[in-house]
Symmetry: C2
């Protein structure tokens, strides 16, 4: 196990009927609140009304930034920073999924940053400066942004989708109410679950060894997703299924499964280019890529870990390592299919014409070619993209 720091001071308020705690939470920071949200689903499900009622009753001024994109854009971040400056905002209230929270984090940092925030992001060095306090109300179980210090921002002008983060960007308080995800449609529920799953897989397959805590906890969280996503798809108002997906989303990416292990991720850099170029849903891109990536990097060196994945996550009883490994990859693929996820790139509107360009950017924007579980160059990535053009069978 590698040395690591673990400091996750987000105050989690998990469960239903807790929004009456919101005014006191906001009061810790001040009265001027930037309310950040996305496409308006919170107006349809009543959450917006509840929040504005509470604000009025408790003397909070809400300044609104709506319309945050599924892959939040730098222009929206800049707009938010302006609003904070104009209105002397004390605290950001992010109501939504990972995109809304990520956008809020970039605003929170950008408010204090002397440089334009895209300059900070593009410098790829993280952000150690101060940030406005962030409170979140999560409405989608997926990215884990509600309990970590990272954010991913897109710049469509430059076709870049880049992650950055810093210690002061972690939300101060996050309200995790599973009922707020009851109205999440099937395709987004599946995509969010694929995102959670991918975070776990990225940390699990790492160049470091000996981190049993991290790996065995990961296996437990993967099994949580495998069990509960289908229940939520079948019955969107199953409270426990939504609760388990929600809490799994936070724990998958708050350091619990990744700290103590070295190296960089594989599927995320490859996927970030797909969504940067085609604006597809992040979780869908990850689901499409992951089984093909697994099959591509399966080798004599990696077969042991893939067999462990098959046995401990999927309960596959199979002595022979390579067969077990392939059965595990197939199980993951079949699971995504069963969740209704489109499992080829053409189904989400992506053909082969930009594979080389995207592959090169994936290499340029990450350390995938040096520090991934199995280092991949642009040619490897093109090969993996190509494997995603048609349906797959691994055994």
């Amino acid at each position: 196990m590698e040395n690591f720091n673990f400091y996750v001071p987000t105050d989690i308020r998990f469960g239903k009927d807790r929004l009456d705690e919101l005014p006191a939470v906001l009061d810790q920071f001040g009265k001027n609140v930037l309310l950040v949200y996305g496409g308006g689903s919170i107006k349809r499900n009543g959450l917006y009304q509840q929040i504005t009622d509470l604000a009025q009753k408790n003397g909070h001024t809400l300044i609104e930034l709506s319309g945050v994109e599924p892959n939040p854009r730098i222009e929206t971040v800049r707009k938010g920073i302006e609003l904070c400056k104009e209105n002397q905002v004390d605290v950001i209230l992010a109501v939504g999924g990972g995109s809304t929270i990520d956008c809020s984090k970039a605003i929170a940092a950008g408010f204090y940053s002397e440089e334009d925030i895209w300059t900070v992001i593009a410098a790829r060095k993280g952000y150690t400066g101060p940030a406005l306090p962030i409170v979140t109300i999560l409405t989608l179980a997926a990215t884990g942004s509600e309990m970590n210090a990272g954010a991913v921002i897109s710049n469509l002008e430059t076709n870049q989708k880049l992650g950055f983060g810093g210690p002061n960007m972690i939300p101060k308080v996050s309200f995790l109410d599973p009922t707020n995800t009851f109205t999440v449609p099937q395709n987004q529920t599946a995509a969010g679950s694929a995102d959670i799953f991918s975070h776990l897989i990225e940390n699990y397959f790492s160049i470091s060894t000996g981190a049993d805590v991290q790996d065995f906890v990961s296996e437990g969280l993967m099994r949580t997703v495998i069990k509960n996503c289908p229940i939520a798809l079948e019955n969107p108002e199953d409270y426990d299924a939504r609760a388990n997906l929600m809490w799994a989303s936070s724990l998958a990416l708050n350091g619990l499964t990744g700290r103590g292990k070295q190296g960089v991720w594989s599927c995320h850099p490859m996927e970030h280019e797909l969504s940067a170029f085609y604006d597809i849903t992040h979780g869908i891109g990850l689901a499409i890529l992951t089984p093909r990536w697994m099959n591509y990097v399966l080798s004599e060196q990696t077969v042991g870990k893939f067999a462990q994945f098959a046995r401990n996550v999927w309960g596959i009883v199979e002595q022979e390592e390579e067969v077990a490994a392939k059965k595990g990859i197939q199980a993951l693929y079949d699971y995504f299919v069963a969740c209704g996820i489109p499992m080829t790139l053409p189904e989400v509107g992506i053909e082969a014409d930009k594979f080389e360009e995207m592959a090169q950017q994936a290499v340029d924007h990450s350390a995938i070619a040096e520090k991934a579980y199995v280092p991949l160059d642009a040619a490897d990535i093109v090969a993996i993209y190509k494997d995603c053009l048609t349906e797959s069978q691994f055994i």
Copy 2:
């Protein structure tokens, strides 16, 4: 899943060769440091020397409270409070295992408490007041006290061993260096691992249902202990084994496996009386009690969860629920035996003469008779104690 709060703001510094970070950590709080430790093992292994050298070099004044007992006593706590008051202590540095850290927490709270701290503890209402900041250097993987807000203090005059806690009692920073546990002897390594295991089991078998995240994470941490304790017993300087046990100890009792579930524990209340009356090692008492308790509460109602425990934790492949359940209990018992733990009460000097009195106190000091996984009255507890008089065979 039940509603819960999760707020664990301990800054964990995990890994070897990190003690040079200590002066800056202490400087956050001040220069007058109460150094709390136990029986002197830190003098033998060089840690004491390192700490005093660093303190001298960086202008920290160390006031020492040594000799904290394995079950820390209220008299020692009171002595610590006096030292803090006399020396205007700014921060407590707890160097040791759970006993040392628990003692430090009681001192930290007692420093500010207007009532005598035993009055606070005995009132069984928790402590919401301020506390001195605590920094820990962990030397034993066991109680999880390094990353939670609870403490257990003994009063030998009244034969009471009581837990209490409060939000300000959680350590600010904890140094978790696995090499500091290399010199832990076999019996304490085994007892500490049994303590970790017991925390996981207590949370796992709960009256609440639907908490898959908590349960599946628990299963992963149990498997971590099962794998790594024997390695550490065989080779005390196996870094990864020590690292996995250490990190598992923190995660087993920081809320991760317990929050979102209701009810109270079973084996801890029963064991607390054993150590309150006989001053035995806590983890050994838990190891002796746990399989007998499991067998005693196994029923048509509980068999499903015990079968899950057998399958997911021990990998037992067995269709029939009751057989699977019993095989799981046997596996746990055999595992403790293999770890060299004395598995009967007479082996640790306890005979039947105080069973009734201890059982009654277990009921009086806890809600075991109302809110345990299977509620147990004094007669039930006596029966479980009696099952611990001789070796057991469950299948």
